[in-house]
């Protein structure tokens, strides 16, 4: 068992990782269970995390490859009780049904909005196109991300 050094949600941690083990397996074992497993082959996006600021499928990243990098999981998005505007918007717009794809979807949106604060609907759809949801029709997620973008813009201007 080798060890990897990861900064997870701003906390530096040294974790065991077996050869061939994926970031998804290591994160879930360490209790970051907001990172979901839906396929294990990069098709569904339920395990989306941010790796050095970019959304990736944790099931496709070997834990060893993440050594020394920064990871943001859904557990690190809210500050205490204060939800992130994307989380707030997902609740207000009815974008959450079963909630299984929600963490990955929110992190893909976070990645998008950190690079593009004024995305078009097409850009939003593109950004979450790798996050499959079987409960909703994506209508309310798209609306939530638009609403979150607006909230984040006006917060910045205040």
């Amino acid at each position: 068992m080798a060890s990897v050094e990861l900064t997870i949600n701003s906390v530096r941690r040294t974790l065991d990782a077996a050869p061939g083990e994926t970031l998804l397996e290591v994160l879930r074992r360490e209790g970051y269970t907001g990172v979901k497993r839906g396929c294990g082959s990069g098709d569904c996006g339920a395990c989306t995390v941010l790796l050095d600021g970019r959304a990736v499928n944790a099931c496709l990243v070997l834990a060893a490859k993440a050594n020394g990098k920064e990871i943001l999981t859904i557990e690190g998005l809210a500050s205490g009780d204060a939800l992130h505007p994307i989380q707030e918007a997902f609740l207000d717009e009815g974008a959450v049904q079963c909630g299984y794809c929600t963490p990955g979807m929110i992190l893909s949106a976070y990645d998008l909005l950190s690079r593009n604060p004024t995305p078009s609907e097409g850009e939003i759809r593109q950004a979450i196109s790798g996050n499959l949801c079987r409960c909703t029709g994506y209508v309310k997620q798209v609306r939530a991300i638009q609403a979150a973008a607006e909230r984040m813009r006006s917060a910045r201007h205040e």
């Binding site: 009815g94 959450v96 909630g99």
Partner: protein
């Protein structure tokens, strides 16, 4: 309409946040696999490589020697009890044709054995070390092969029960008659007939089937499972493993989607057996490939519809013949078949003559089960295609033809009574129906008048619009049962305990809203505990579009009883007659009184004539009011490649009073997009030996955010007088729309009828070429 219903609602009809929403957006550990699993035995299952074979022997010795292997399960050491995996009310209408591990395998992927080991790797390794000798049998790989004379008999075991005719591979047979269709067709000015064949398709919840089992400190078996039917799961596991119900506790944590797939008890028996035998916690989770191969699917069907109408377009006769492929086991075989007729034919009650008949047959193919829409989906495709054909023959607008035939308030249909859930149904009269308005609003929104029949061209793309209408039900009358308990706490909050099963549908929230409405508090004052067989009262679970209507009514009644108790305590406190008091904004309010609920409960709990303010109520519905929906689509068909693009989809629904409008819309949006996948891309491809060729979300294409058209969902208000707060169901109906709506739109665009699904570019192009060749044979 009750007095209270006439008052404006305070909590109901508002899109309050999901009661479990904050935890879900924060990624809190809420699902089965989100707990510490470091002490579990990992269970892996060996699937059959053959479609049909006898197991001659299984040599487990090499597997058992692998370090870390704790148990190997086969037919030799597990209970042989025949049961059904279908989580239905007892006694189930599905045959008892399944055992934990059988001596015969009946489809590629059928259970052969399982291994429990300290690690997943050891379990996998052990599976590979199992030496199984099979005697291969000829396989039945289609409906026609199943029905052929002298076909191999799939269930020849002798100890199965409830099969209609095992020797002829017939699981179920339905035949009901109203009037005389022969006479009806003879009287008709026009008749049309169409036959459609639908494909194998899958639910694909993003969370696959998963169970975590353990023994509690009293040695009772605890099953934490991703299920839609916790109480049925408890009963079926008790039956299968031969242990008392008393010894089992089923807990449903959050569920990552079900859509019917989790109305099936697929893994709980294995996990339970391992835990009881070893005393150790166990964990079974299907991989995505296993989910595709060995979980459940929608029943593929061949359905023929014949319609006869007079010159005014009033239907005189409807005949529907359905043949359903129920795969290797008969779970939901009878009831899905029956619903193909019972959820469709009453819509056109003007036809005085109707005949529905059909059979469900076994094949050596993957096992279908309950899937959102439940047979109605397979029935509406040919029915609404035939209605489109009929409109054309009569020279009538398709909307007008529906108007002349659809059921209305105050009307019934003999089908309601003749055809129920695998047995006779229940007579009912429709008390709310806004289909007329759904049609008008939808036609306006899609631009029906401007766009229909214009065949607008943009390069190779030709545009067309199509429509269809449908109904579903709200629970299963005189069968479904739901119960709810409410108890009051001394801060004025309430515990709401329901057996109802929130699988992401939002039922915890809407049930809290219903209770809160009655009790005069915000929904946030309800602490919801659902689906724990030790803690909550019984409920059949999340299926048949039952929860809002049936469980909602149980909650409304329990809340009503608690309300009475609160008022009687308050009446003593403020010396007012009960009739003068009501509940408002967390207070008991009277002409000269305003008592906080907390004070009422503190008095009942601690000071005077003490008792627990609490009540339990049940609901067994006596009818199943249908929600209604009109669907419209604009499509563009690329005549060079056969590609179909849905440009816009409009769905206008009458679901009674939407308890939570955003969530109700979400149910319809989700079911439509699921239906769009079913109509356009989703198809389980089967090899010539019965193997699923595309068991991944890469090769089996469900819609992503880029694949979805502009989607307008509109709820037209109605009030269902029998429902809780005027509500009807909303969960399933939307999925029935896309297939017929898109097929009819394709016809409007390019003049070809599609009878096989999904509408892939290959099928559409072939149909366009066939039609061109027929029109101009020498070209």
């Amino acid at each position: 309409m009750s007095e209270r219903a006439r008052e404006p609602f305070v909590v109901v009809g508002k899109s309050v946040r999901k009661v479990d929403g904050v935890g879900l957006v924060k990624g809190k550990p809420k699902f089965v696999a989100d707990v510490d699993l470091s002490d579990v035995l990992h269970v892996r299952i060996l699937g059959s490589p053959h479609a049909h074979a006898r197991i001659v022997s299984i040599d487990t010795s090499a597997a058992e020697r692998i370090p870390g292997v704790v148990a190997v399960l086969t037919h030799a050491n597990t209970p042989a009890t025949r049961h059904t995996t279908a989580g239905q009310g007892y006694p189930e209408p599905s045959p008892y044709d399944t055992r934990m591990f059988d001596t015969k395998v009946r489809f590629v992927g059928d259970r052969v054995a399982a291994v429990a080991a300290e690690t997943e790797e050891a379990a996998e390794k052990a599976l590979r070390a199992l030496r199984v000798t099979y005697e291969e049998l000829p396989a039945v790989l289609s409906i026609d092969e199943a029905r052929a004379h002298g076909a191999p008999v799939i269930h020849d075991e002798g100890d199965s029960t409830g099969i209609y005719d095992a020797a002829r591979n017939i699981v179920a047979d339905v035949d009901i008659d109203v009037g005389d269709v022969g006479r009806g067709f003879a009287q008709s000015a026009v008749t049309v007939e169409t036959t459609c064949e639908t494909q194998y398709a899958q639910h694909t919840p993003i969370e696959t089937h998963v169970v975590h089992s353990l023994l509690d400190s009293d040695d009772r078996l605890v099953l934490r499972t991703s299920t839609q039917v916790p109480f049925h799961a408890r009963r079926i596991v008790a039956q299968t493993l031969g242990i008392p119900i008393q010894r089992i506790r089923v807990i449903k944590p959050r569920v990552g989607g079900g859509f019917g797939a989790k109305q099936e008890v697929l893994l709980e028996d294995i996990a339970g057996w391992v835990t009881l035998r070893t005393g150790r916690p166990a964990f079974v989770c299907l991989s995505r490939a296993e989910e595709f191969v060995a979980a459940r699917t929608r029943h593929p069907m061949r359905v023929r519809v014949k319609l006869g109408a007079n010159a005014d377009g009033v239907l005189q006769a409807i005949e529907m013949e359905a043949t359903s492929n129920t795969g290797a086991y008969g779970a939901h075989g009878l009831t899905v078949l029956a619903n193909t007729g019972s959820k469709t034919l009453p819509l056109y009650n003007k036809a005085e003559n109707a005949h529905f008949y059909g059979q469900a047959v076994y094949t050596n193919l993957p096992v279908p089960g309950a899937y959102r829409g439940y047979g109605a989906t397979q029935g509406y495709f040919p029915l609404e295609t035939a209605m489109d054909e009929l409109a054309e023959r009569l020279g009538l607008d398709p909307i007008e033809l529906r108007r002349r035939n659809h059921i209305r308030v105050g009307e019934g249909s003999p089908i309601f009574e003749k055809l129920g859930e695998g047995r006779e149904g229940v007579s009912q009269t429709v008390k709310s129906c806004e289909l007329e308005r759904c049609l008008a609003v939808g036609a306006e929104r899609i631009g029906w008048r401007e766009k229909r029949g214009t065949r607008r061209r943009e390069g190779p793309w030709v545009h067309g619009v199509g429509m269809s209408i449908m109904m579903q039900g709200s629970g299963i009358p005189q069968i479904d049962m739901a119960a709810a308990t409410i108890k009051m706490n001394e801060d004025g909050s309430f515990n709401l305990l329901v057996g109802a099963t929130d699988i992401g549908t939002g039922s915890d929230t809407i049930l809290a809203q219903i209770a809160a409405e009655v009790l005069g508090v915000p929904a946030s004052r309800m602490i919801v505990t659902s689906s724990d067989t030790d803690l909550t009262p019984f409920d059949v679970g999340a299926y048949a579009s039952s929860t809002t209507y049936v469980s909602g009514m149980a909650v409304e009644r329990a809340a009503g009883k608690v309300r009475e108790q609160i008022l009687s305590v308050a009446a003593a406190m403020c010396k007012e007659p009960v009739e003068n008091l009501r509940l408002l904004e967390e207070h008991v309010v009277g002409p000269a009184a305003r008592v906080p609920l907390a004070e009422v409960c503190r008095r009942a709990m601690y000071s005077s004539e003490q008792f627990q303010i609490a009540a339990t109520a049940s609901c067994v519905p006596t009818e199943s009011p249908p929600p209604f929906l009109a669907s419209f689509a604009e499509v563009a068909v690329d005549v060079e490649t056969g590609r179909v693009k849905v440009v816009r989809y409009v769905a206008v629904a009458d679901c009674g009073v939407p308890i939570n409008p955003l969530m109700a819309e979400g149910q319809i949006e989700g079911s439509i997009v699921n239906g769009l996948g079913y109509a356009l891309t989703e198809e389980m491809l089967l090899s010539s030996t019965g193997r699923v060729r595309n068991p991944s979300l890469f090769d089996y294409k469900i819609p992503g955010a880029l694949d979805v058209p502009a989607l307008d969902v509109i709820l037209v208000g109605s009030y269902e007088p029998t429902g809780p707060m005027g509500a009807k169901s909303v969960g399933e109906i939307g999925i029935n729309g896309p297939m017929p709506t898109i097929a009819n739109a394709i016809y409007d665009a390019v003049g070809v009828r599609l009878h096989e699904t999904p509408f892939t570019p290959e099928r559409v192009l072939a149909a366009i070429r066939r039609e061109a060749a027929e029109r101009c044979p020498l070209a």
